[in-house]
């Protein structure tokens, strides 16, 4: 079974890098690059894991996380959050929002991979 990861990120180069790393590991990577309709895309895709950037055009990653956790059908979806700001305040905000894993950019590829594996529970 090909497990699916939904990557919500607006930097083209980062999208390319993560897509490369995960697909090489056998993951099916879907991408989306704005915040406004991100929750709808999650609902439509039903991914095994959501990788969510914090600073997205249109809507903040924190708001998207809150929506996911508050909707019955999506609440159980694991979410891995990425941020380039790296302040403690952001981490606290994410943890309050119910994030499963929180990573600061830049990350190492292997770290990313093991986090994804762990979260989906293979």
């Amino acid at each position: 079974m090909n497990r699916q990861v939904l990557l919500i990120e607006d930097e083209p180069n980062i999208i390319e890098a993560i897509s490369f790393i995960l697909s090489r590991d056998g993951w099916q990577v879907k991408t989306h690059s704005n915040g406004r309709d991100a929750v709808d895309v999650v609902r439509a895709r039903r991914p095994d894991l959501v990788i969510l950037d914090v600073m997205l055009p249109g809507r903040s990653g924190f708001d998207i996380l809150t929506d996911i956790r508050n909707s019955d059908d999506l609440a159980a979806t694991p979410v891995l959050m990425l941020t380039a700001r790296g302040q403690r305040k952001d981490r606290e905000l994410a943890e309050q929002g119910g994030v499963n894993r929180y990573m600061t950019k830049p990350f190492s590829n292997s770290e990313m991979l093991s986090a994804v594996r762990e979260l989906v529970g293979t």
Binding site: D10, I21, R85, G86, S108
Partner: protein, 886 residues
Amino acid sequence: MLNLLVAVCLTYVVFLFVVAFAADRAARRGRGAWLRSPLIYTLSLSIYCTAWTFYGAVGFAARSGLEYLTIYLGPTLVMIGWWWTLRKMVRIGRSQRITSIADMISSRYGKSNTLAVCVTLLAVIGTTPYIALQLQSVTLSFAAFSSEDRLTGAGNLQLTALYVALGLTAFTILFGTRNLDANERHHGVVIAIALEAVVKLFALLAVGIYVVWGLGDGLTHMIERIDASKLAEFEVSGSRWVGLTMLSAAAFLCLPRMFQVLVVENQDEGHLRTAAWAFPLYVMLISLFVVPIAVAGLDLLPSGANPDLFVLNLPLMAGQEGLAILSFLGGFSSATSMVIVTAIAMSTMVSNHIVMPIWLKVTGGTAVMSGDMRNVALLARRMSIGGVILLGYLYFRLSGAGTALAAIGLVSFAGVAQFLPALMGGLFWRGATRLGAMAGLGVGFALWLYTLFLPSFGAGVILPVDVMENGFLGLSWLRPQALFGADGMDPLVHAVMWSILLNTAAFCAVSIITFPKPVERLQGAQFVNVFEHSRTAGSWSGGLAQSEDLLIMAQRIMGSDEAQTLFAQAARAQGLSGYLPEPSPDFLEALERKLSGSVGAATAHAMISQIVGRATVSVEDLLAVADETAQIMEYSNQLEAKSAEQARTARQLREANEKMTQLSVQKDGFLSQVSHELRTPMTSIRAFSEILRDHDGLRPGDQQKYATIIHDESLRLTRLLDDLLDLSVLENGQVELNVQHGTLAETLDRAVAAAGGAPGPLRITRDRAAENVALRTDVHRLAQVFINLIANARKYCDAADPALEIRVVLQGRDVIVDFVDNGSGIALADHALIFEKFSRLGETKAGGAGLGLAICREIIQRLGGSISYLPGQGGAAFRVQLPHAM
């Protein structure tokens, strides 16, 4: 003969003027310690002995035997037996700055002005007959010298009385109201009185000696004649003796003029010690020859002769004109000194307790207190003096000048004696209350009016004969001279008994059932325990109560904090702790100066002398007036302004704080943004470099692609750091401008070349003719702005066929350069944001950190121009406005 008399009178009066004037001057220059000697004090007390004493005592003796002695017995008993009571009164009078008996009573009962008004009115009513008595005696003695009716003393006296009244008014005003200053004593007046005391004693002794040794055959013979005369046959009525002695004792304490010399004019408590034996001695001397003169008069003069004029008529009859004139001068002295002091005392009371409060009430509500209040007070006193003497004159005219002198005097005595219960109760009983005092005074005076004063005019004059005989409304127990069935009593004793008895009863009863106000309790304690509270009374010293009053007043004017600081400093300077310094002259001067700044010198002086010195008006009145003064209004305006200023400062502080917070938030946001902008390219670089490192067998195309990404992102990082440094330099104003001459066309050429070098479909339209504008500016920096704007158009213009038009317009001194593209433009809501740092709109594409326009704005501002978004141009439009080189 009459002309000679007038001349002697005038000479005597001029002499008095000179003495009074000299004494005043000496006192003002600080010389004349003898003026303040116990002897002078004792002699001044002799105003107790008025014309009534001089003429009337002999008349009294001729009519009632030794009874006249009661009039002297009372004061003698007071001076000797009640020495400590007098000392208490004097101590209180000095420590409380008492100005009159009305002031004393009102002060004791909570500084109640109502009470002061009552006492004043009653004193006016009580003393008016007495003044009339003096006028009568002077006019009678004048008449005695005129040839016709010599012995009876009848005749047209009114004109004489009027002249005498006018003369006395002038003298009193001149020496009694020279100065309002609270602590000034009337040295001139006191010395004049003392002199008159000597004159009258000398005159009476001279007449007595002449009668005994000149007319008669010496002392032994005289005693025989006294034994033989009907004087020895008068039965002494016990009740009348006791009554009269008590009455004169009470009057000695309560008469306004006695209070004036005894308490107000007192220089030193110690003088009382001398007066305690010297005054009884004086009284004894003056009464020594009363009986011989009376007996000789009865013997030698015709039976119809007026006994009140024996003193004058005996020498006249014997042809001793010189002695007669001396005797006349003695009587004249007695009368004038009494009228002068009474007028001073009464005028103080009337002006302080009636005129000034009314004046303040009338003017205080409408007019601003600007004038000097002291002038008003002086005028009030002068008019009061005139008024008091005028009243006496009117009474003299009304009462028909026929009544015996002693009778009029006793009516007065009984009237003022009504003050006694309230006065003594106030000195010794802390439970005495204001309402009690008012009740006692009211009852006592009503009874006095009804049983003694009104009947004294004679039945049918004021009180109808019917009321006199059958009682008010026909009720026999209300008969004025037989109240409650007390029939057959002497009318005077009857009146004194009932009025004093019921006065005291009412005073005690009401005092017991009412509760004193705080001020009354405070004052009560100060009065009753004056020896514990006060130090030896000094000239300016007062209790802490005065300091407290001063503090309360100062606080109302200066504001609490400032006043308390001032007082605390003064207290420390005096070596005291707390907020209440002794009201020393230094401190009072300092305070007055301080207050002058707020309320003006005149008002400040009046306010302080009000509290520390003798009262001109009540504190409450002054404060009420002061509250309405323009200065205070102004002061409160200043306070308001100050508090507004404080509010402004607080607001500024709040704003500054908000700004700091905002700046701190902005700084946080900026760092967070920088972090994001740096980490994003680094993420790509790290990820792809790891991919290149860890994954073998990448397709060559991918390998190439990933290396290019790393390269591009590295460049992006460099650009970002450049921009950040540039912005930082610009914002800190550290940038150095390299000002050069150039043209707009050249600068735009360079910018288009730099920005347009990149491949892209952007079409640029220019108006070369208009661009020929001379510039004197940093052309490199200006080009940097243009490059940014062109690059933005290239990056963000979303038209299918992107085009940029550069328009140049000259407007006044400014060159305006517009960059307008044909894209969809920027939403209105974002217009304000685009020049802020990191404000990227819409989806980010690789390359921009959102610092470009922020840098443009900083540069243009440095160059003295402005950059703004120009709405309504179809696409995105930026306007650069620059001053152009002239």
